[in-house]
């Protein structure tokens, strides 16, 4: 399973493609692609967003479902979704709470 992530052009904020085709600031709102067709659809939206200069650095992230939530397999992406592990007051975890962000 995959989710599509990027950074918002204007401020660099890490964002994830949501089911309504918007770019969400939290991974909890990420749309999960469970098959190649869904991936292709999301990839096309990502390309459109890139071309529209909404986001940069668009990439798929491998995830697994844990208690119904998409959790990245790589630590790198879990840190992106939460914030620096040494500063719980920074990044998305600062306003979401570390548990729900990661």
């Amino acid at each position: 399973m995959k989710i599509l992530t990027a950074n918002r052009l204007v401020d660099g904020e890490a964002v994830w493609l949501a089911a309504d085709h918007s770019w969400a600031e939290t991974i909890a709102h990420a749309d999960v692609a469970a098959n190649p067709d869904a991936e292709a659809r999301m990839e096309a939206i990502g390309a459109q967003s890139l071309a529209a200069n909404l986001v940069v650095d668009v990439n798929f992230v491998d995830v697994e479902l844990v208690d119904g939530r998409a959790v990245p397999i790589r630590l790198r992406e879990r840190i992106r979704a939460a914030g620096p592990t040494n500063r719980r007051d920074l990044g998305k975890q600062a306003w979401l709470g570390a548990e729900s962000a990661a």
């Binding site: 204007v10 790198r76 990044g91």
Partner: protein
């Protein structure tokens, strides 16, 4: 300190205006990311894990109070209230918005700072000994030469698109505190038999995935030939350096593949040709002396009263006494000292300083240190000229802002790159490992019992945390989705530079601090006496006792 002339001001202002226009066009969609990326990188703007990152140049690590206050202001106004001092003597902000960066650059320009050439395949910030102009063991202040190189290399048309990035370091002391042998070019200021100033020239040092110690290619280069010879090196590199493989593009690979003797021959031939064709690059003595005047030492009044005052205060205050033992460096004037302000509080993030701490350090520099601050490549701050009579006042002020940790050069004075907590290139975290080791060894008596020991941690093979030259180096890698840490031993970045050797299989994040403790305990158990520091002991003992301690059963089974 160097002060901008009208050309410098105009140049930096023009670059700010250019970048403002470029950023606006990018945000308006007139430039694509492919078009914009090289432009933002030329101005120090990276995209990292969580946000953009802005890397600001601090030439040869020298800052005024005014400049430090501006960094504090930017941290407070545009970022998240802190900055990260790096192993390149620069400062990074981890959270700026692209839309704000032109304003940040404009604010920086108002205090004669910028972010130009902090990225890209060009000549980067020239670094120098952080005790330059102050150290008792110095032949000559390296900063005038670093400044000459900075001016010469700034948007140099021939050397702005090199095969790869290029780093130059200069030291003017016998003891190398600038790690010159780990740089593409290392310059050691020295005098010849007639007392004439010049340089020993080292080429081809570097870390990354292929660590190399630089080779001495000229024992003495007269100072007037600095730019001619450097140009000759750059031309040979620019012509023959590989552009087909970024992992083999640094000059260290060219030196290695060409051979030191042949490369030296090529450089000397180019040098001779340059000298014959034109005297344009020859440095007139008057110009060198003019630059030197910017770095003229402050007028240091006799302050002999400091000796007795310090002696009395240290008897009464154990914390001050420990701080004097570790964080004071001998100054060329006996009534003065250079102070290391540790940015390595126990369990803290190496190199981070809050806006309030930056402001407070600026105040201290203004009040007690002739308005001068240095950034060391070891990620600490330095007040280069402090009267001994003022040391207690400086210490008390540092206590008030939590920057009084007496650990310079000790096991908790750890270099660490930002690692996976921030960096898009990293494979593993560095900061959290540094924090855990720092906490484990935080007891002052234990640290001092261990003595001088440099631990350096990188979160990927690019080695921004200098792990190859740590007495104990730690390299974080990703293996099967988890962090794994390799230990290297015996590295060093001084005048006897050496690359550390991998000691064996890696350790998980949960195991690495215990493994480091095992290494340290093995040293303590095997050192000849307390005067034999870790590196000397390792060079005498070799890796065997450390391997046995770390992997005993596995080593014996093999």
């Amino acid at each position: 300190m160097y002060r901008y002339d009208e050309f410098d001001h105009a140049f930096v202002a023009e670059r700010v205006a250019q970048f403002r226009d470029q950023a606006e066009r990018r945000l308006a969609g007139e430039l694509t990311e492919d078009q914009f990326k090289p432009l933002r990188l030329m101005n120090g703007v990276y995209l990292q894990l969580h946000a953009y990152m802005l890397r600001i140049a601090i030439p040869y690590g020298t800052l005024s109070s005014k400049q430090m206050r501006m960094l504090a202001h930017i941290a407070r106004t545009y970022d998240k209230g802190y900055g990260h001092f790096t192993t390149r003597q620069n400062l990074q902000f981890n959270w700026p918005a692209l839309k704000d960066i032109p304003a940040i650059l404009e604010e920086l320009a108002s205090v004669e700072m910028h972010a130009i050439q902090t990225s890209g395949n060009c000549i980067r910030n020239v670094t120098a000994d952080h005790f330059a102009g102050a150290a008792a063991d110095e032949f000559a202040d390296p900063r005038p030469y670093a400044e000459i190189l900075r001016q010469w290399s700034s948007v140099h048309p021939e050397f702005s698109y090199l095969p790869r990035k290029f780093k130059i370091a200069v030291t003017g002391a016998e003891h190398d505190r600038a790690a010159i042998q780990t740089h593409d070019i290392g310059l050691h200021v020295k005098k010849d038999g007639n007392g004439k100033l010049g340089f020993a020239v080292y080429v081809g040092g570097g870390q990354g995935r292929t660590p190399m110690v630089a080779k001495l290619i000229r024992d003495f280069l007269p100072e007037e030939d600095l730019l001619t010879y450097t140009t000759a090196i750059m031309r040979v590199y620019n012509l023959h350096g590989r552009r087909d493989n970024k992992y083999k593009a640094r000059i260290k690979i060219l030196v290695h593949e060409t051979g030191t003797e042949e490369l030296t021959r090529q450089v000397e031939a180019e040098f001779a040709a340059l000298k014959l064709s034109s005297e344009e690059l020859k440095l007139p003595a008057a110009d060198i002396r003019a630059i030197e005047r910017y770095f003229a030492p402050p007028a240091l009044a006799e302050r002999a009263d400091g000796w007795a005052a310090v002696a009395a205060e240290r008897k009464a205050n154990a914390g001050f006494d420990a701080w004097l033992r570790r964080n004071i460096h001998e100054h060329r004037h006996p009534d003065y000292a250079s102070v290391t302000i540790s940015l390595k509080g126990i369990g803290e993030v190496p190199g981070d300083a809050t806006d309030a701490q930056m402001d407070a350090v600026a105040d201290l520099a203004e009040q007690f240190a002739f308005d001068e601050i240095r950034v060391s490549h070891e990620q600490n701050l330095i007040l280069p000229h402090v009267a001994r009579a003022d040391l207690k006042a400086v210490y008390d002020a540092l206590v008030a802002i939590g920057l009084h940790t007496p650990n310079a050069g000790l096991v908790t004075d750890i270099i660490a790159c930002p690692g996976l907590d921030y960096c898009a290139l990293a494979n593993a975290r560095s900061i959290s490992v540094a924090q855990e080791i720092s906490t484990r060894f935080g007891d002052q008596r234990r640290q001092e019992e261990i003595g001088d020991l440099k631990i350096k941690i990188s979160g990927c093979i690019n080695a921004c945390g200098h792990h190859h030259v740590g007495h104990i180096g730690i390299l974080g890698v990703e293996k099967k989705g988890t962090e794994l840490y390799q230990i290297t031993l015996g590295g060093s970045a001084d005048e006897n530079t050496s690359v550390g050797q991998i000691v064996g299989r890696g350790f998980t994040a949960e195991e690495i601090t215990d493994a480091i403790e095992t290494v340290v305990d093995t040293y303590l158990a095997n050192r000849a006496d307390k005067s034999e520091d870790f590196l000397v002991a390792y060079r005498r003992l070799g890796a065997a006792p450390f391997k046995e301690a770390l992997y005993g059963r596995e080593v014996r089974a093999a």
